[in-house]
Amino acid sequence: MRKMIQVAGRWSLVSGVILSTPHVAAAQKPAVGSTTKVSFSGETPGREPKSFAPMVGSWLMQRDAGQNVLFIDGRVWKRGQPAGGLADKARELYGARNEEFIESIKAFAYYPIAVYKGLDDFENGEISVRFQMIGGTLDRCAGILFNVKPNGDYLTVRYNGTEDNVVLWTFNNGVRKFVSRAPTLTPLELGTWHTLKISVHGTSLKSWLDDKPMHDYTLSGPVSGKIGVWSKTDSMIEFADFTVTPTAK
């Protein structure tokens, strides 16, 4: 029989699926095998999310078709501002190492990111997010952020609607590098919901777009770090149902 537990305001169903997480009080490590779905239901439209820390870009909650969604508004990116309160947020996430994080993040001002506050360290398991492309003249990117280090290095698997592809990128010491492009081109319509998912087991990385396999790739090393959502330049994207299931290796 499945058992429901409550941890820091989140409901989780051990050995099963979920329960919504309106917001997260403090970072922690959920039980291995339990799934946490961030529904955003307890968030306030028009404000920054409580469950994520927006580091770059304008990330706001908004209502769409009766549900709360996390919206990255790329129109604001053009003004060239990092997210408000970057220093405070970095301090909250990384304490004394926040300056290192900030320096690196500033180098990535083209790439809006919001870090999930509910998990300190993701090493193995699955992460998925639903997304809807709204617009963007240069880019229409929705990505899963993972392996986020205190120095601002990270990995992302993202879909880009101006290229119709899913790509794994790495960001190290202020430099973005292409790692692997999924061979399948998948045009998606704007204004429709889709699901991007990754699984990490040791150095094995797999990705799916709407349940279609995209990547089966071997990383150069194991994953360990924070997770979140990612976007690019002037993309306007809505995110919903950010779901994470940490597992044993």
Binding site: R75, T137, D139, E189, D234
Partner: protein
């Protein structure tokens, strides 16, 4: 069978949706072809275009290429505002200059050279970039390369309104639906919006691209003004 039925429904539904949205979102803009399309003075899209297409500083680096591009595209600087109304009607392409074909070939050669000079705003000025956009309209192969270059160059070097209108045009060529609502065709004497996806968020995208509101674009298309 199902597919053809779906396509038929879409063909009917898309213009209906667009029209419904236009009516809902823009009471100030007349949709009746007999009325003028009112442009609100100081509207954001007009301001953005005016700022971007301002060549008064003469700060481009290749005046020879700029002069050639303008002549080939049949343009005279300064450009009159608004430069981009976001309305293209199939088969009604602008009149180009006598050197258009030769310049198009030259652009093809430039596009094929990765890393070579490309006529962005800092190279040929705003009018020069708009000339590249006009010259690339009729050649699908060149169009794809030019759109890619414009997107790659970013908003400081490429006018968002041209990029958006161009993407819509090419998406239709590629068998996809447009996303900004800038492409129209004439059917039995009526101007009809070409197939479009996600018309619900069209004005967000158009605002971002410095295009007039969807309702005003529809009005421009229907009245030819």
């Amino acid at each position: 069978m199902k597919r053809s039925l779906l396509l038929a429904l879409l063909a009917v539904a898309v213009p209906t949706l667009a029209s419904a949205q236009a009516k809902k979102q823009a009471p100030q803009h007349a949709l009746d072809a007999g009325q003028a399309c009112r442009v609100v003075p100081g509207a954001g899209w007009m301001k953005k275009q005016a700022e971007w297409f301002d060549d008064s500083k003469h700060d481009w680096t290749n005046d020879t290429l700029r002069t050639q591009l303008l002549a080939a595209a049949g343009l005279t600087a300064p450009l009159s505002m608004p430069v981009q109304r976001g309305v293209q009607i199939a088969g009604q392409d602008p009149q180009l200059g006598p050197t258009a074909a030769a310049m198009t070939e030259m652009l093809k050669k430039m596009a094929a050279q990765r890393g070579g000079e490309w006529p962005t705003k800092s190279v040929v000025g705003a009018a020069g970039v708009h000339a590249v956009y006009l010259l690339s309209q009729s050649d699908t192969g060149l169009g794809r390369a030019v759109l890619h270059r414009m997107m790659e160059a970013g908003p400081a070097e490429s006018p968002s309104a041209d990029v958006a209108t161009f993407e819509d045009r090419l998406r239709l060529v590629w068998g996809r639906k447009q996303i900004y609502g800038t492409q129209f065709r004439s059917e039995n004497g009526k101007i009809v919006l070409a197939p479009m996806e996600d018309s619900a968020h069209a004005d967000l995208r158009r605002e971002d691209a410095a295009l007039p509101p969807f309702s005003l674009g529809l009005c421009f298309a229907k009245t030819g003004r």
